[in-house]
Symmetry: C2
Subunit: 234 residues, 2 copies
């Protein structure tokens, strides 16, 4: 139905909104622009889609280049248009959401990018058009994490329930009742209690848990309802 003669060709970018958690704060992995009109501004890891490449492949390639990780969580958030990055150049961009454990031993940041983990509460001004990508990715993260167990991607292999609760509270920017939270999380049967305790945070200590990986994979796409009413989410 549509003809391609006279149609504008556009540059097609992929932008990665990479979330991490350090035990206290939800953070974004940002890189510093080292040249061009946006020099010294912070921005998302991004690049151009290559001919013959699918969007997911491009996002994986960029994440690998920046972090050395090959199997991190990646999800397409949305395609955006209408904000030219270069004067007079039409650009569209597809935003991806990724979740990383900041302290994972496999994570090796590529020096070339001057990447830094920056707390969501202290975000610097981003390069044009990327603020709405971060907002859309955060909204998607809140939506998905309310019903799916994907936040475990942000945690180390061994974690306590208070640590998990701090993560949920950081993402939803709210306080959850301790007993309800613990009951709801344990009722999913996704956690396996360990014998040792974390004793730095409190005198009594808190038992460590590990993820039941078999059950995690099996039920990931079921609706497990971690947050009853996460607000006005799309």
């Amino acid at each position: 139905m549509k003809h391609n003669s006279g149609q504008s060709r556009m540059l097609v970018a992929v932008d990665c909104v990479i979330f991490g958690f350090d035990g206290q704060d939800l953070k974004l992995l940002l890189i510093k622009q080292n040249n061009g009109p946006q020099k010294n501004k912070w921005g998302l890891m991004s690049g151009w889609l290559q001919p013959g490449e699918d969007f997911g492949e491009a996002a994986s390639r960029m994440l690998y280049e920046l972090t050395g990780l090959e199997d991190a969580y990646l999800e397409q958030v949305s395609a955006f248009a209408a904000e030219p990055r270069q004067p007079k150049e039409n650009t569209v961009a597809v935003a991806y959401l990724s979740l990383l454990n900041i302290n994972a031993s496999q994570l090796q940041l590529n020096d070339q990018y001057q990447a830094q983990w920056i707390s969501l509460q202290d975000l610097p001004g981003l390069i044009a058009g990327q603020v709405r990508m971060v907002e859309a990715a955060l909204e998607r993260l809140r939506y998905k994490a309310a019903i799916h167990p994907l936040l475990f991607e942000l945690l180390p292999a061994k974690f306590t329930i208070p640590q998990l609760q701090i993560l949920y509270e950081a993402i939803y920017d709210s306080i959850f009742d301790k007993r309800n939270f613990s009951r709801k999380i344990l009722s999913t049967n996704l956690l396996v209690k360990q014998k040792d305790k974390e004793k730095l945070s409190s005198k009594r200590g808190a038992f460590y848990y590990k993820l039941n990986k078999r059950r995690y994979s099996a039920t990931f796409n079921a609706f497990l309802h971690f947050v009853a009413d996460p607000g006005d989410l799309k």
Copy 2:
């Protein structure tokens, strides 16, 4: 971080996967290609993103051109790449999902497109690259409709619970228990019972219901759980 010199410019398309329901079958609104190498093949309503236009605006423009509707449900599903539509031409496409009431009086199909509602069970071969868009849109529809009340978009203003159940069964390609289904739907308080009955389908007849539009808007983004376990959905 990325430079645009030497990068490929691409054609950027928007494709609309338009679902409708006629009381029995879930259908897709398809149009016939009237020229080019795909002449006489069926395909999705689609077009090129225009410079300065956002993706949602482009999808609305195409839906309006085809149906005359201005405020139908539209949701971005995913961006796809890597399947050139024209020989040697790099193309990316963003798929949108739309839901229409086939019998709505405002719906006026534009003759120019030779559009037809075709049952999902009798789909003809589609033009290249569109099958995966239809599959992704159907998967998204199943996911969203399991937890949000969006299927009412497909129904007339007045409908019976058996009609609603037929719609759910068509979308999930499964059979739901009548009493459970009715109990779950009514417990949302989204439906307002009418005084009259539909009497063509059964001797006893079934009461008509209307949507409580205020409550529908207020709770649309809450998780209402219409389908307990819709399977392996993403």
